[in-house]
């Protein structure tokens, strides 16, 4: 697991049934592009988060494929429809096989 990786997610705690809400996510990650060289002139191998998904009660909201051109500490903002009370599950997939997860509950009413 890459060092110091920490997901942050901003989801409203409440919504109306069927409301469209804005979600923001950020994860601390170097997103080593594979284009940089170290002091000895050797290429620093690529090490990025390559996929991010957001699901609500098992149904997909967004599925993002990330390339090395995404900035350090990948940030996403997007909208989701909330049909009922439940849980958002956010998942980040690292090149090194690590998977980082975060969940947020939202209540209708």
């Amino acid at each position: 697991m890459a060092k110091g990786v920490k997901p942050r997610v901003k989801v409203p705690k409440k919504a109306e049934a069927g409301e469209v809400i804005t979600i923001k996510t950020l994860i601390s990650h170097k997103m080593e592009s594979g284009q940089r060289k170290d002091k000895e002139g050797k290429i620093i191998p690529r090490s990025i988060i390559n996929r991010f998904t957001a699901d609500f009660n098992g149904q997909n909201v967004i599925d993002v494929t990330l390339e090395p051109a995404i900035s350090t500490n990948p940030y996403f903002q997007f909208e989701a429809k909330v049909p009922e009370s439940g849980t958002f599950d956010f998942t980040w997939y690292d090149d090194d096989g690590s998977v980082y997860k975060e969940s947020k509950k939202i209540t209708i009413g």
Binding site: F56, Q59, I62, E79
Partner: protein, 140 residues
């Protein structure tokens, strides 16, 4: 004044293409390859998709962009002047609240950023925006 930046760019690049017809093969770039890979070589029309990017980025490390295309199932973003032109692909699921997303990207130099949307009917839409990447201060 109705001459938009995009029209101006279109006029500019049209002239350029005309002037350098002989050099056409050079146009087949890494970016073109990446875009063709996404569209499967299908025709791509302008419009029906919004790409928001700054005209001038204070630092190429963190350039905020937003894409939006009503009726899109996927939107892919390309940085045509980066060593690897692919940036990200947004696939919208059944609970997406809109076919839009924002992120922050890296730009190696001044270049065109392109967003292509794959629509529900299988067609492709395209928008592009030139972002100037500046080099700061006394060489920092």
């Amino acid at each position: 004044m109705n001459l938009t930046r995009r029209k101006l760019l279109a006029v500019g690049s049209g002239t350029l293409a005309f002037a350098s017809l002989a050099g056409l093969p050079a146009f087949a770039s890494l970016a073109d390859d990446a875009m063709a890979e996404f569209t499967g070589g299908a025709a791509v029309t302008d419009g029906g998709i919004d790409l928001t990017a700054p005209e001038i980025a204070e630092n190429g490390n963190t350039v905020p962009i937003a894409v939006s295309a009503e009726g899109a199932t996927e939107i892919m973003v390309f940085a045509t002047g980066n060593p690897t032109p692919k940036v990200a692909t947004f696939k919208f699921g059944p609970l997406s609240g809109s076919r839009s997303a924002s992120t922050r990207m890296r730009l190696a130099k001044t270049q065109d950023v392109v967003a292509i949307a794959k629509m529900e009917d299988g067609s492709f839409r395209r928008a592009s925006s030139t972002v100037k990447v500046t080099i700061g201060g006394c060489g920092g």
